[in-house]
């Protein structure tokens, strides 16, 4: 892994892909700093980058506790979405009747804006459960849709081969359909990771209650009420960083699983 990573970094293209965004980020932060400094903008309108960084450090005890809450919800939501999405996709694949009956409702769940569902869920469920349900609802559909697509896009000749050798349903699923669906599944997982975070954030904001169990999104809302704009920015940065880390984590898992065989994961000569 280390060897291949080093080789990858040695290619000028790859280096540019890392250096350029970082350079642009540095420029953006510098411009931000200049705008704030030159126009003497007060921090309750727009805090400078240094102040945001200082706030991030100073408020770390509060923010890190909230980060932990949001992360936990996100991953629980994602885990449930992956389990439920893949499980339901397999069920759909095994039985047309189940698919025809349930698929429209999966779509309805997906197309109804989560912001509109969250307040309702908060009435019927305890807060933590409602937040989790929101994360699950938005993350669930991409896993289901992609896995379903994957399970249905198996090479027809391979299906014939399995029929020729009189493979059981379970054998066909285990040895043929699931492996063939893996690339699609990971595509869904990558989307679901980000969406799960969004679902958690939406529900936290809708819940809007303070206390020990409040997540990052609640911190943003709370700081807004108090005009503590630097903390708003700090919490927002943490949320963005969380989203990025989740995305890369999913991409890395996908790469590690598929690198030996799938076209998407294989580096080509330039």
């Amino acid at each position: 892994m280390n060897g291949s990573l080093a080789a990858w970094l040695a290619r000028p293209q790859a280096l540019l892909r890392i250096v350029l965004p970082i350079l642009l980020l540095a420029l953006g932060i510098f411009a931000w700093h200049l705008v704030v400094a030159i126009n003497d903008i007060p921090p309750y309108v727009l805090p400078g980058p240094m102040l945001v960084a200082r706030t991030l450090v100073a408020d770390w005890p509060v923010l890190s506790a909230s980060l932990a809450v949001t992360l936990l919800t996100t991953f629980e939501g994602l885990a449930l979405a992956v389990g439920g999405g893949i499980g339901l996709a397999i069920l759909f694949n095994q039985s047309r009747l189940v698919e025809y009956s349930l698929y429209p409702y999966a779509v309805i769940l997906q197309v109804t804006p989560i912001v509109a569902i969250a307040p309702l869920l908060l009435i019927y469920l305890p807060q933590q459960a409602a937040v989790l349900a929101c994360a699950w609802i938005v993350a669930f559909f991409p896993v289901l849709a992609n896995t379903t697509l994957g399970l249905n896009s198996v090479d027809h000749n391979l299906v014939d081969l399995f029929r020729l050798y009189r493979a059981s349903r379970w054998q066909t699923l285990r040895h043929l359909k699931l492996p063939a669906a893996l690339p699609h599944m990971f595509g869904g997982l990558r989307i679901a990771g980000g969406l799960s975070l969004i679902g958690a954030v939406v529900a936290e904001i809708a819940a809007g209650s303070a206390g020990a169990g409040s997540g990052l999104a609640y911190r943003i809302a709370e700081s807004g009420y108090r005009l503590d704009i630097p903390r708003m920015f700090a919490a927002l940065m943490l949320l963005a960083a969380t989203g990025i880390v989740i995305y890369f984590a999913m991409s890395l898992i996908s790469h590690l699983v598929l690198r030996r065989w799938h076209e998407s994961a294989i580096a080509r000569e330039p």
């Binding site: 000749n157 081969l161 399995f162 020729l164 050798y165 040895h175 492996p179 893996l182």
Partner: protein
């Protein structure tokens, strides 16, 4: 050579697809024990459909497929080996995992399966590629893996659906030679579908020439040249003679469609 008992007979077999295309119409065919039989015809003459009917991957619309034991389907899952037009390997599995698939599906003991797989890979000359993934192999090597997989269950009947059509000529000649060597060594019955006159003459004991749309047997040509056949046969006058005769038969079969 006296014709040995058929291991399988197709009686007046017809196949009409749901879009009402008649792929096969009253096909009569005997597959004899131990022979190398080629089905030769233009594309769309239902040769591949005939193979799928034999393999019980499709049901005949009319007529019947009868096996030696009187059944309409092969008696066991390992009776038939099938090589498709494409290598049809599982890209996520190594070469040895691909070859061992039929044994795993049949629930063969792992230890016995591994020995059998190693033996087959050795037969097709791929021993050192056992833990390679299909994408790292050339087209010809992938076909060899496919052939090893078809033979790993020690089937009675090997069905091949234009297996070498997508390969370059050099690779195809080499695979033809290797296939003949395997056929002689293992004593299998082979039904080989092709649209190449030269390939069918080189490989077969017997060629069945088929008419296009709907597919039917036009004529049968026995190739009595002795085995082993090699490059000297490929360049002999005898080979050229058989090729001419077969080409003329194929042209006549195709003219039938034009007049029909």
């Amino acid at each position: 050579m006296a014709s040995p008992a058929p291991i399988l007979t197709l009686r007046r077999v017809g196949k009409t697809f749901p879009n009402s295309v008649v792929a096969l119409d009253a096909l009569d065919l005997e597959v004899r024990d131990g022979e190398f039989l080629s089905l030769l015809g233009p594309s769309g003459c239902g040769k591949s459909t005939a193979l799928r009917l034999i393999a019980a991957l499709a049901e005949p619309s009319r007529g019947e497929v009868v096996w030696r034991n009187g059944e309409s389907e092969p008696s066991a899952s390992h009776t038939i080996g099938f090589v498709f037009q494409e290598p049809t390997l599982m890209p996520w599995a190594t070469v040895s995992a691909n070859v061992s698939l039929p044994l795993r599906l049949a629930g063969t003991d792992l230890h016995a399966a591994a020995a059998r797989v190693a033996q087959m890979l050795d037969r097709v000359g791929l021993s050192e590629f056992a833990s390679t993934y299909p994408r790292e192999l050339s087209g010809g090597m992938r076909m060899r893996v496919s052939l090893a997989r078809a033979l790993v269950t020690d089937p009675e009947l090997l069905l091949m659906d234009e297996p070498f059509a997508a390969l370059d000529e050099i690779t195809r000649f080499r695979l033809n030679n290797d296939l003949l060597a395997l056929w002689q060594a293992l004593g299998k019955t082979v039904v080989f579908v092709t649209h190449s006159v030269f390939e069918s003459v080189y490989l077969s004991n017997r060629i069945v020439v088929m008419t296009p749309r709907p597919g039917r047997v036009f004529t049968e040509i026995a190739i009595d040249a002795p085995y082993p056949r090699d490059e000297s046969f490929r360049t002999s006058a005898e080979y050229a003679g058989y090729c001419r005769k077969t080409s003329q038969a194929l042209a006549a079969a195709m003219a039938q469609e034009a007049s029909a």
